[in-house]
Subunit: 320 residues, 2 copies
């Protein structure tokens, strides 16, 4: 059936995953592009072109017979023009007309947007955000991405840059953020902050965190910090409580400003949900005004690793 399949592309900082998405939002096959493909736009377009051909072939089709290809990129995107303005930590990408380049290569319609926006679109359409009137979605990982959906449409702001909760200052005397400013939310709850707090805990003798990290070759990750806390490491547990408090302040601010009826949290760090959620929800309820605090449900994302791929497909359908 021609035009039935869509390819959604989740363009991460270190690898690129393309998936074949059914009209019902199911990902039926995926291809992983090598990290080499990320570095330069021309190589990315070629690598992705081959992956899309391969995916189309797997259902007996061709790229130009697809419904189209949607791409989520980790950086600033002019979604209207399909231009990647810049990527976080990838200097080779400046004002790349990715939609045009891909359409020329593939012969089907393409669409491009910021990855956190597509995470939000995916969860809104098929995941934990379904039915929300005002939805705020956050990805918890290395950075803190955000997407806002109001009355079913992405809220983009005046120049397409809306939804950057990571650089909300919640403590002007707090740790310095990668952006140079002190006390950003990302500097409190980004993966680097968790690792920094974990290292400090290890220096103070945290167990079993220290042993877990040693066994992992010295590499401390948020996942290990979660494991240590679940195994009873008191210092690790305190770090997640602190994480919940900081994230709760940020979410409380958004609740007071935007009065959403749902907030969806995804990304790898959300895996520690049970360790931070009780503190997070207590903080939000204490801080947000009553009407808004009562109106909001804070829930975990449901689409897992596929949220970006599904969201990219939804983007393509919506720009049809």
């Amino acid at each position: 059936m021609s035009g039935r399949w869509t390819v959604g592309v989740d363009f991460g900082g270190t690898n690129v995953k393309a998936g074949l998405v059914s009209p019902a939002g199911r990902v039926v096959a995926t291809r992983l592009l090598s990290s080499k493909a990320v570095g330069r736009p021309a190589r990315f377009v070629e690598g992705l072109g081959e992956a899309v051909e391969d995916l189309a072939r797997s259902v007996g089709s061709r790229p130009d017979k697809l419904r189209g290809v949607g791409v989520g990129a980790p950086g600033q995107v002019d979604a209207e023009r399909g231009v990647v303005l810049s990527l976080v930590n990838v200097p080779g990408w400046r004002r790349v007309p990715l939609r045009r380049l891909l359409e020329r290569r593939l012969g089907c319609r393409c669409a491009v947007d910021n990855d956190a926006n597509l995470f939000a679109l995916g969860e809104f359409t098929f995941g934990a955000g379904r039915g929300a009137q005002c939805l705020v979605c956050l990805t918890l990982g290395t950075g803190l991405g955000g997407g806002i959906i109001v009355n079913g449409a992405l809220y983009r702001g005046a120049s397409g840059a809306a939804g950057e909760p990571g650089h909300m200052v919640i403590d002007p005397d707090g740790p310095r953020c990668g952006c140079g400013v002190k006390g950003c939310l990302e500097a409190h709850v980004g993966a680097a902050a968790l690792v920094r707090m974990g290292r400090r805990a290890i220096r103070q003798g945290a167990e079993p965190l220290r042993t877990l990290v040693r066994k992992a070759g010295g590499r401390l990750t948020p996942a290990l910090l979660g494991q240590a806390a679940r195994q009873g490491d008191a210092a690790a547990r305190r770090i997640w409580v602190e994480f919940g408090r900081s994230l709760g302040i940020g979410l409380g601010n958004m609740v007071n400003l935007l009065n959403p009826d749902r907030i969806v949290l995804g990304g790898g760090v959300a895996g520690a949900w049970a360790l931070f959620y009780p503190t997070l929800i207590r903080t939000v309820r204490a801080q947000a005004l009553e009407v808004s605090a009562r109106a909001v449900g804070i829930v975990r994302a449901r689409l897992g690793d596929h949220a970006g791929i599904v969201g990219a497909a939804v983007l393509l359908w919506r720009t049809a």
Copy 2:
């Protein structure tokens, strides 16, 4: 001409001002209701009824010949149903169906909303917010009110409570806010915070602030703090710099989250504009992401004391 005139009502915490508004948004006459009218809903409806009759008479008309009456109330309002849910610091108002009560008394259409929303509607339609795609309006005074207008429509959130920037926490170790939480923006830049900082400066010998306050019978106000700073009081100047920094952090957070193209600041405290604006804009530019920082203009409100009245009239027109 029947239906030409609208009455806009600015229902403040201590007094109520009603104004006759022309179709071009000009306020041609006003009436001030006594503070006694505020206390109880029945008395408010009767007092306002008389003021509206008086205003209508002044142009040879009657309330039931007006285009209608719009009211902005300082508290939580269910604008859709025209019900005042609660007023700040006025216990007698709980779930008052004000629109229905007024329509019955006056015989014309009425509409009710939160006062900060109406300030935003007024500035958007006839003032400093004209032409903005995404507009954030703040009133600087005892409290910090907010209204957000996106693509020409008030952004209300999931339960009508959106736009509460005053209770955005910008420093969890900061001063305690009236709401009970530590470090709210309002606890940094509300009138009470300015007065608190001013008193501390006086204890440390600030001049001419001390003399000015003494001459005013000991009453320290933000206006006096501005006057002292303009007369060269170094401590007073520092307070306004600190004010600009705190407000800049709050606005920077909103810029990163909402990417507005304009922010309009009004309310009495905005009179000290020249004293805080340089620090404010520097803080916003340092903190907000580049694309969003470049997109936003931060300007003073233009409608002065009449913004609420005009906005209330605009509300009525829009719910026509």
